[in-house]
Symmetry: none
């Protein structure tokens, strides 16, 4: 089956929002042996959407459309599908009931425009939306297949996983499976990763590829096989070969993140954590608490954006700030010590720096950041000189702070 | 002129890298009056690239292709253009000289594969590459235009600005300019926005369109005019008509964010702010400190993830938590009061809730969130019942908290 992704939305066409749905769908379709060869993006315009669908359908066996299922007049996907296939839009009562319940539960008024979301092409198989209001659907016609999913990523993913992908896997059963796994490394650069795995790069199946991300290095293993289990076994063997060469820098695969890896180690060791943040403003705490269940180890933190907050809430001695400045190893260590004591945690991580664009000096330029990790025995600090814009400096600071903590936990594990 | 963007590259098709070129080109082409109605993405495959170009050319006047001009065997753009148009690829000697000079300067060996980059379709106008090696080109044939630019963003942008855009502007001289502005609203749903501006939706020039984002509603005004200044005037008039209907919910345009709007009002009023966060874990502070210069008004905050942190760092009375629970209006108000006092700020914003997926009960389900805003005179709280996954609940909580603060500041302004 040759599939084509059709993304419908003017914001996508004009690049005002990034099409993460397409990347997700391409990867998931590959896993069930459905190759994606084209992607078309078209704006919220009925006639152009219809034309885009028509031309895509001419060169592909299946279209997976995302977006344009909302309640407003410029949501045109279903009308375009109906116009192209010569079907009528009909009310799907269970979907309308679902929308009514949802609005009742959220105590919002149901407008006429919302009823429009329960209209689907006659003959289509409705796909329930467990997360939001609009149903999706699959329409099979003259040997071709058109699937329509909402553009909101959480809704699209839930419907793809629960309905669309199982349906397509069933329908294409027996084709070649392509599976990938991304191995994630911290504290090692992309070139070092490449150097240490050079002889594996020649492998034709599974293949390996390198991907760089801020403060991380990724290696993707891709296997083609007759079945999922065979692909899994090929990936597992290659993963073992990779980890023999650089296992110490490996922290997780696929959806794992540094914050989830750190969280798992903290749990395992039964340790608690506190944070003290200055230039990152709460981003470190935000990332740590993105992990479900983080309250088991994360006690909380202080965002000491002002010097007064550093002194009063964290107990940083004023003379330390006066002598070394708020952006210094000494202040970072005092912040970590204060957070550890006041939040009664086993470990505390502190960040202070100049995120810019203003506020830099010759001695303390934009991008200068100090980290500290206090375990009550051997407090350690680290100096970073980062490039990039304000938000990149914030993100990279938290990335190195989490790497520092992860390496520390590894040495204790 | 109806243009279509054609992005060539397997990594783009599979979403492994984000197509920033397309967003850039769509905006720049609109500014010179060239509308972009479709975007096609295709992998590094000669036959499929040719087919994609053929179908795109059938529905558009001009194709702007990016990518696939590199030296390797899977760079197929020029071969596809030649196959489609029935032209030959010929050596462009000045481009080869440029490539040779570049490699000599960089002290790199010139391989045969690099010579391939100097081959362009016969009859095409070469576009010099001031940044890298591969030239681009413009081929005009049978009333249609095909432009090919490299995929590396810095090279693509330099060539677009120096050569392609001036060429197209000259060629379409006298055609329309298209300009857009996005108006951003908070505290109002997309359907309400649509309802209150329904009669404006009929306008054909400028047009309006609705865009939904978590906790915000956007309205885009797009004007077509003979000049930029005329388009600006049309947008300003439509903006006035929109704001007459729902000005109270308007917080900014284009790149403005709720956190930048709140920051500007705090500065204007000379007020300082503190935060107390539980379920959002620092995200509110992170967003506030994404604004350069936020240290002028943001004092800092406490991430009181544990009950003990609420009591010890924010002074929330233990009996309040015992009687009402950590997730309650009473605790939110006590958190805000504590943050205001301890961080010595004029205003404090507090968030406590159940972000899930675990931790919910019948009485306090996942998605239940309490906000409080304390100005030292009339502390106010608000209850939210949010849907979505953990990170969405966190984000929406900060979104409504910022809206609450922004509305409060408006009432004082």
């Amino acid at each position: 089956m040759r599939a084509e992704l059709v993304s419908i939305g003017t914001e996508l066409l004009l690049g005002q929002i990034v099409d993460t749905n397409a990347a997700y769908l391409a990867a998931k379709l590959a896993e069930i042996g459905v190759g994606v060869y084209f992607k078309t993006t078209v704006g919220d315009n009925l006639e152009r959407a219809r034309l885009a669908l028509e031309q895509a359908l001419a060169r592909s066996d299946a279209l997976v459309c995302t977006g344009g299922l909302g309640p407003t007049a410029d949501d045109v996907t279903s009308e375009a599908v109906a116009a192209l296939t010569g079907t009528q839009l009909v009310l799907h009562q269970p979907s309308l009931d679902h929308i009514q319940r949802l609005f009742h539960h959220r105590q919002l008024p149901l407008l006429d425009s919302h009823r429009k979301q329960a209209l689907i092409p006659s003959g289509a198989l409705p796909l329930p939306n467990p997360v939001g209001s609009a149903p999706g659907y699959i329409l099979e016609l003259r040997g071709k297949l058109i699937a329509a999913l909402p553009g909101v990523p959480s809704e699209m993913r839930a419907m793809a996983e629960e309905s669309l992908l199982p349906y397509l896997a069933e329908r294409t059963g027996g084709e070649l499976v392509i599976k990938s796994r991304v191995l994630r490394f911290a504290g090692i650069g992309e070139s070092m990763l490449e150097e240490r795995t050079r002889e594996l790069f020649a492998s034709e199946n599974p293949t390996i590829a390198y991907l760089a991300q801020p403060g991380e290095a990724h290696l993707r293993i891709t296997a083609r096989a007759a079945s999922r289990s065979q692909a899994d076994a090929m990936i597992a063997a290659m993963q073992q070969a990779v980890l023999e060469r650089l296992g110490e820098a490996y922290f997780g695969a696929d959806q794992d993140t540094l914050e989830s890896a750190v969280g798992a180690r903290l749990r395992q060791l039964g340790l608690t954590l506190a944070t003290a943040e200055s230039c990152t403003g709460g981003l470190l705490g935000d990332r740590i608490t993105n992990i479900p269940g983080s309250s088991a180890y994360y006690q909380g933190g202080v965002v000491s954006y002002s010097n007064r907050a550093k002194v009063e809430l964290l107990g940083v001695p004023s003379p330390v700030i006066a002598a070394h400045g708020a952006v210094s190893a000494e202040t970072a260590l005092a912040m970590a010590g204060g957070a550890r004591a006041r939040l009664r945690a086993d470990l505390a991580l502190a960040i202070t720096g100049v995120a810019g664009p203003g506020g830099g000096t010759a001695a303390k330029p934009v991008g200068l950041v100090y980290l500290a990790l206090d375990d009550g025995v051997h407090p350690a600090s680290r100096e970073l000189r980062l490039g990039g814009a304000r938000q990149e400096i914030k993100y990279r600071s938290t990335q190195v702070a989490l790497t520092m903590l992860w390496q520390y936990l590894g040495s204790r594990g």
